[in-house]
Amino acid sequence: MTAAGKRIVGITVVAAIVCVAIGLYIGLYLTNVPGSAAATQTSSGKHLYLGTVPAAELTDRHPTWVSYYVVDSNSANWQHVTTFVLPANTVVQVTIYNYDGASALRNNWFGQATGTIGGVISLNGKTMKSIDPDSASHVFSIPQIGLAVPIMGVADDAKNPCGNAPCSLSFDHTTTTFTFRTPGKGLYRWQCFVPCAAGYIAGFGGPMQTVGYMDGFIKVV
């Protein structure tokens, strides 16, 4: 093979490798979507169990970030996903086990439950319409459908607080339950409205600005 031929083959091979690498990069980027979890089917219908912790698992890439998780009815089997798959036009019951302390609301309006069936929530078994804004730890909100549920924080003087996920029910926690009707098929976003990102300006950086911690999607199918 002549020198010119070798040069052409070399350039062709390098170009092919570069093209494959670019294709792989784009392909992986487009297919690398966050994981999701579906609501559990119970005798009373669809039920979504969530857990909130002051800090993610120690093995997480951000082990100091506050986060939501999907759990089971006993606050076990923690999955770090914030995309929830729910059936369309269906009444869904949601239970949130919260192991985090209070941060207080930036807008007290979110201290009232809106968009739930009956406009109420059950906090530790007690039905109520609103909580003290200063005791709020998080808000589970789907703004596109007007849903906003305040989550009361664990007391500051809790005897047995949980730090990093996973947290069992033996740790101090609050339990908030509510029901709401899912909208039609589509992708909706949910978020927290409490500035709960410790260590960030105004509490709204880090986990509040990163999908997969204090916000995510509701995939209604």
């Binding site: 207080a104 309006w109 979110f110 201290g111 703004p143 500035p195 260590g199 509490g203 709204f204």
Partner: protein, 280 residues
Amino acid sequence: MEETRHWRNFVVLWLVASLIMTPIVIFLLGPGLPPGNGSVEASGQVTDNTVLLATATPVALGVLVYLGYVLWAFREREPDAVLDGPAIRGDSSVQFWWLIATTTLVLFLAGYGTVRLLADGSGGGQGPNPIATPSVPAGGKRLVVQVVAQQWQFNYRFPGYGGVETNALELPENSLVQFNVTSLDVIHSFWAYELGVKADANPGVNNVAYVTTKGPLIFHVRCAELCGVWHGYMFNQGRVVTKAQFATWIAQQRVKFAPATSKLPPYSKTYFPDPLRRGG
């Protein structure tokens, strides 16, 4: 002589093109320009956009006709001969009239814009001390609505109705509405597209914008300032309804959000939430 003929041809072509296109812009394109006729201010913006486009039409046509004429009149007629053209030289007469024309246009537009802004504010945010206040429509009254922006939702507070705050916005028809726009965290921008209202929402600042509603309408509210990860989802719909429907709606909101209203701070033009317990 040759040069005079070219100028005459160009001016005639430009005048004909302008006389054809400018009425088309004014009477055909103008009525369809954004943001529509959802409010008095929106209609005013349609007029303003039409004036701007109609003013720009002869200017744009001047450039296009000149380009087209030059390409046609000075095209190469003898492809085999490669000849350089005459040397380019300055023309003080052209420069003089170019300056006169462009200066006149710019001053006209500056004057027109100033007059229009001073008339009613054109739906834009005027800061905490507005100087362009539209008049209240006959038989109506001014409705004050506070827009409270927060990552990532707009809420609306009605100081004239017990300070109730809602996550939806309804407005009465044929009414002057004063939006007091503020933010609880970062910079947002309240953009009610069909109403022709756009006002920045800055923390610690009361940015006032006015709109005079017309008939019933569904309008879209969007945040127009990049404000974080969910900026693209910071939107909702509002409605302009009859005065009777508005009275019913606001009464329902006062009942519905009574628990939240009781926990809200007293109505204020700005809010400075207490220091955060955890935020840095």
